[in-house]
Symmetry: C2
Subunit: 246 residues, 2 copies
């Protein structure tokens, strides 16, 4: 028996998120079925991040146990030949048998992309959120300074989540514009349900001038979801990668 | 009666190209139908570039004649409310009655995007050509120097095209890499059928080391399609914009 780790990229457009569910096609479901077929045994993957419907990934991480003789690093090639085009394994390797991608110290990096111009661009519609009103990136950047570090992010936690604590550590946030595309890049050691999308929705309300950057501190202090801005739409979000520490 | 000019962006993935045809959905067909419904009269657009199936556009140009009282610059908004999400008008305005987007002096700019890395990225699959072997951008750039200017591009003309002359003028070609993405940007006052895709396919054969940059001159001199490289796939190509001169 060995444990294999995968780095998984996917276009979330056509999936009901990562996690297997009884109704609807999920990335994990397709991965489990394809691996089971390839290896001739029942495979159950465990994902590091259970991304929501419509959210994309360049570097989600999953592990599974297998008795196969195929070397770990070859599994990516065999798997990519069988997977649909919107899921692509970037790397596979054998990992320690006790490596668990959710109970390990790690840092995740997400990017939220906002297409900020007069009219939408069709070729960007599936991978960004179109926003018409001009965003002031300097104000957004100023607002992010309140979020960096260890805080109670209760105001940025989507409803329906059951967690022991809403304290999380954001290790970095960058906001930058390249042409018409404004990107919010957030790194942290853990995230609450919808946290990056609520941070993004709140930063948009600051970037458009509706609220000043200092409001971010008041929103944090409120510890109340209703204090923050809306949850920005799923298609703008991509899980860029996960770094693990031992 | 007035003539309206449109700047049209589209995701070509789900269309059988620009031009109306009896079988299959085309960008022009959808545009004609949507305009006819909006304006209550039979509208026939004329496009500047009849892009192929799967090719994208940020700035194709079309004109049509109408008796509507809607001001030219408002038509974009009304039209975008009725068009599918993969077609978006970027601008509309009244133009001279004798303006014809194909019989006017103009310069078109295309970009061909090549994702050059070990494994494909699902979110790029519809808008770039995945190519595994490492491309040498310096060699590709050297090869483009032979193409700039007025030449007989018969070697870069797709079969099935009926044209009086295969002489065309390429005003500029840039090749650049941003991370894993190699972009070939070609501008010219006119293009032959599949010309940018054949140039791109040929540049890939030079970038991968199969042929030296100087071969480009021999290919031009041959005036024979079989001397050049393959036609690179449609999804990598985007018509970026068209500039008109009077």
């Amino acid at each position: 028996m060995k444990r294999i780790g995968l780095v998984v990229a996917y276009d979330g457009t056509n999936y009901c998120g990562w996690q297997t569910q009884p109704n609807g096609i999920t990335v994990q479901g397709v991965l489990n079925d394809t691996l089971s077929e390839l290896l001739g045994e029942k495979i159950e993957t465990i994902g590091a991040s259970r991304t929501d419907a419509g959210v994309h990934a360049l570097g989600n991480v999953a592990v599974f146990d297998t008795n196969t003789r195929i070397p770990g690093e070859k599994i990516s090639y065999a798997l990519n030949q069988r997977l649909p085009e919107d899921i692509r394994i970037q790397m596979s390797e054998e990992v320690e048998l006790d490596f668990h991608p959710r109970y390990c110290d790690s840092e995740k990096t997400y990017e939220y992309r906002i297409l900020n111009r007069k009219f939408p661009v069709p070729t960007e519609r599936l991978y960004s959120y179109f926003y018409h009103y001009k965003l002031d990136v300097d104000k957004m950047r100023e607002a992010t300074s309140y979020l960096i570090g260890r805080h109670d992010f209760a105001s940025f936690c989507g409803s329906g989540a059951q967690v022991k604590t809403t304290i999380r550590t954001v290790t970095g946030i960058e906001v930058f514009r390249e042409g018409d595309m404004v990107t919010i890049r957030v790194s942290g050691t853990g995230f609450l349900y919808n946290m990056v999308r609520i941070i993004s929705g709140t930063l948009i309300e600051i970037g458009n001038g509706q609220y000043p950057p200092e409001r971010m501190q008041k929103i944090l202090d409120a510890k109340d979801r209703s204090a923050a801005g809306p949850t920005a739409p799923a298609q703008g979000l991509t899980l860029m990668g996960i770094q693990f520490f031992d």
